[in-house]
């Protein structure tokens, strides 16, 4: 077995960038099982004293969706014209946004939440990032299942109304592209995590922004008129609109914009990962 040599110096790791990249790659190699165990630990811990477990995660979108469904039927809100039943629109919108929001918040809090672990165990940064991805992905499986059930249940009724609630091929594409949504949320969160580890205000700001953003995104309605411009600058809008259309009609909406947002998310994620990797040794005991 080759001897492992580790050198800890006061110098910034950035000065030897190739070494940083090698370490990140090594982290990716050794982290999957670690991340899996961390993910299991976090999930088990989160619902250790709960009878219904993660089912609670569906309560809020279900209630909100129901309220807006009836508001729309009562013509209190006008979500605008749409190619799918409103209930499908709402449930997809809420669950997709919830996934994005969860990915963002979980990533932002990653260092501060792992403080106890990081002060006692030397963990690769990649294991922590992967654990968030696994965790959000795990919950997403249930959300995808719920969205699938909704789409299939209303499939024929929607077709009778000249609408589309499910496309088998589109749904496969939807599942394949779903990680882009998680990536989008995590890219923001991972980038902010080191700063949140020092100033908890960062996490509060993220939460405050995410709450109104739900109503300024195509979650419960299509933004029309002057508000439609928000769709153009809101990366979440590209994600939600396209994933929703993909699942229900195997179509896309501003595909170029979605690709740009996805690539940008990837770039931000890689930058955030680098920042996160570099920050962990500095912040492990300060979080």
């Amino acid at each position: 077995m080759p001897t492992i040599e580790r050198v800890y110096t006061a110098e910034s790791q950035v000065r030897d960038f190739s070494r940083v990249i090698r370490n990140m790659a090594e982290g990716c190699r050794v982290s999957p099982y670690m991340a899996y165990r961390l993910c299991r630990k976090d999930i088990a811990n989160e619902y250790a004293r709960s009878a219904f477990g993660f089912l609670w995660d569906f309560v809020e979108p279900f209630i909100l969706g129901t309220i807006f469904y009836y508001l729309r039927r009562a013509a209190v809100v006008d979500p605008g014209a749409m190619p799918m039943p409103y209930s499908v629109f709402v449930i997809y919108g809420l669950l997709l946004y919830q996934t994005f929001s969860e990915a963002t918040i979980q990533s932002t809090q990653l260092i501060s939440r792992s403080k106890n672990l990081l002060t006692h165990v030397k963990l690769p940064a990649e294991a922590l990032i992967m654990s968030v991805f696994f965790r959000v992905g795990f919950y997403s499986l249930f959300r995808i299942a719920v969205m699938f059930c909704f789409s299939v249940f209303l499939w024929h009724a929607a077709e009778a109304d000249g609408l589309s609630s499910f496309s088998p091929l589109g749904f496969v594409n939807f599942v394949a592209c779903f990680p882009l949504l998680i990536l989008c949320g995590m890219s923001i969160g991972i980038f902010l995590a080191p700063f949140h580890a020092i100033y908890a205000d960062v996490g509060r700001v993220v939460r405050i922004i995410l709450m109104p953003l739900r109503y300024l995104s195509p979650v419960l309605w299509n933004l029309t008129g002057t508000m439609a411009v928000l769709d153009r600058v809101n990366p979440v809008a590209y994600m939600i609109n396209n994933l929703r259309l993909l699942a229900t009609a195997n179509a896309t909406h501003h595909l170029t914009g979605w690709i740009v947002v996805s690539v940008a998310s990837g770039v931000v994620f890689l930058t955030g990962w680098l920042v996160f990797h570099l920050a962990i040794p500095v912040l492990a005991e300060r979080a």
Partner: protein, 546 residues
């Protein structure tokens, strides 16, 4: 041989204040991200937790860090484990490292022991297959038994410690870093841990541990490093280093105790200063200085009609006191109680004798007491004036502190009594009335007078309140000579201190004058300097005359 660990000039600093912690945290983060050089000097409110330390550890060596709490042991261990980034210097570690910073670190209290073993092993970098292979050994060593499927939160501290240690040692490290954790758990567990670490040591595992168990360190470790305030104080054989550390600790403790003692003395002195008056008062019994019932208490001494603050022994004193009763009182009486300053009660006189004040009910009360012979010996005294209603005190406080002056004589007791002494000595009876100074008597007594072979021989004794310098013998007015002193008969003198050292016998031996004067009278005179103190006459012995 390449060392397993090389620590070169490693330092770590921390800020003392939490706010600074935030500011410096963000600064350090930006330096790390931008590649800027770290500041190697202390910023405001920072201190060195580890201060430029260098040493090496060889493969298979067992090393202990000793030092007081906060000396930087754990920080150094954490830097070696890669958990903390150094602020200066460089640490090179070759080999698989397992750090036991906290038994059960990363354990989740809601998960079972089984799940936590898998988690802990995976976080140490072990693959799933490897975890499966060592799982049985871990459980066996931990002796958790049927509790392995219970949540770790239900485990005792000892069980958690066993589980944590068991996981750590089964990860096959080349370097085991152990913080002060083996104090957890029972004695049996500690022995088991050390036995296992000895086995690891035999297998060539390098062990670095932080411990306050100095016995175990000297027994188990080859070498020890003593840290104090982040600085390396000593590095050498375990026993020698631990001894040096303990010696310094003892010195520091002695100095600390000395400082504590000084502080205690200062505090006590302050308390004494604040309460000395009160404490002094308690020597004279309970003090009731409140003025609920009585006010305007006053007392004075008069000698020859003039008020005085101090007295002389045997003065004719008029003591006057007065006060005002604020409300109606029945069964009133007032006492004057005299104590020596150090709290010995001398005497008391009260209005109870004669029921002088019983009928007084309220308003102004005045009283005077005539003391024709104030016979307190020279010294300092305190006069208390208890004012009672029945058996209850209305007021009881020091009314006057005064001093009685002496006349240069020595006194052993607080009272200087007048007396009359009847003395029988050598067949001679004498009655002496002691009139103290200024009329203190000088006494001269002629005892045996013999004439033989033309020589006159006289023996006698005397006493005086001042030194006798000369005893002269006369026959009529004819001076015969001075007596010699030496015969001590001080049984009378001993009874009164006033004659101390001024008493004694005398003896005269001189020629009988020839011719012998008619009607000659033998006179003996005692002088103090030029002052005649005493004189005694005796008719010339008839038998001699004849």
């Amino acid at each position: 041989m390449t060392p397993l660990i090389a620590v070169e000039n490693a330092s770590r600093k921390y800020p003392r204040r939490a706010n600074a912690h935030l500011t410096y945290g963000i600064t350090d983060l930006f330096r790390e991200l931008t590649g800027a050089k770290r500041r190697e000097t202390l910023r405001r409110d920072e201190f060195w937790a580890v201060d430029h330390v260098s040493f090496e550890v060889k493969r298979g060596e067992t090393l202990a860090f000793v030092g007081r709490n906060g000396s930087g042991k754990t920080t150094l261990l954490r830097m070696m484990a890669g958990l903390t980034k150094p602020d200066t210097g460089r640490i090179t570690v070759r080999g698989r490292v397992q750090a036991l910073m906290n038994l059960g670190a990363g354990f989740n209290m809601n998960l079972s022991g089984r799940e936590n073993i898998r988690n802990a092993a995976s976080m140490a970098g072990l693959s799933q297959d490897r975890v499966k292979r060592i799982y049985g050994d871990i459980v066996a060593f931990a002796e958790i038994g049927d509790f392995i499927d219970s949540p770790v939160g239900t485990y005792s501290q000892g069980m958690k410690a066993r589980l944590g240690f068991s996981v750590a040692i089964h990860l096959a490290p080349e370097l085991l870093l152990v913080d002060e954790i083996l104090s957890v758990g029972d004695f049996g567990f500690q022995r088991k841990c050390f036995a296992r670490m000895r086995r690891l040591k035999r297998d060539g595992v390098t062990i670095v541990l932080v411990s306050h168990n100095h016995g175990s360190i000297t027994e188990f470790c080859d070498r020890a490093i003593w840290l104090d305030q982040g600085r390396l104080m000593a590095d050498g054989p375990a026993e020698k280093t631990v001894r040096a550390y303990l010696d310094s600790l003892m010195t520091a403790q002695v100095a600390e105790q000395e400082r504590h003692l000084q502080a205690l003395k200062a505090a006590t002195a302050e308390i004494m200063t604040h309460h000395i008056a009160r404490r002094a008062d308690t020597r004279y019994g309970p003090i009731h200085d409140e003025e609920d019932h009585v006010e305007g208490v006053r007392l004075r001494f008069l000698v020859n009609g003039r008020e005085v603050d101090g007295l002389r022994c045997h003065d004719d004193v008029l003591l006057e006191y007065g006060f005002r009763l604020k409300k109606r009182v029945t069964d009133l009486n007032v006492s004057c109680v005299i104590f020596t300053e150090d709290g010995v009660k001398i005497t008391a006189f009260s209005t109870l004798n004669g029921d002088l004040l019983t009928d007084v009910h309220e308003g102004e009360v005045r009283c005077s007491v005539h003391l024709p012979d104030f016979c307190l010996a020279p010294g300092k005294y305190v006069l208390l004036l208890p004012i009672h209603e029945g058996r209850s005190y209305l007021h009881r406080n020091v009314a006057k502190r005064f001093e009685v002056a002496g006349d240069g004589r020595l006194y052993w007791n607080p009272l200087d009594l007048r007396y009359t002494a009847h003395v029988v000595a050598d067949g001679v009876e004498r009655t002496v009335t002691y009139e103290p100074d200024p009329g203190l008597p000088s006494i001269l007594s002629i005892g045996q007078v013999t004439v033989s072979d033309g020589r006159l021989h006289i023996r006698g004794w005397g006493l005086a309140p001042k030194p006798v310098t000369r005893v002269a013998v006369f026959l009529g007015d004819l001076f015969l000579g001075d007596a010699t002193r030496g015969l001590i008969r001080n049984d009378v003198a001993r009874s009164h201190p006033a004659y101390m050292n001024h008493h004694g016998g005398f003896e005269f031996n001189g020629a009988v004058p020839d011719p012998l004067p008619e009607n000659a009278v033998l006179r003996v005179r005692a002088y103090g300097g030029d002052t005649l103190l005493a004189e005694q006459e005796r008719p010339w012995p008839a038998e001699v005359v004849s």
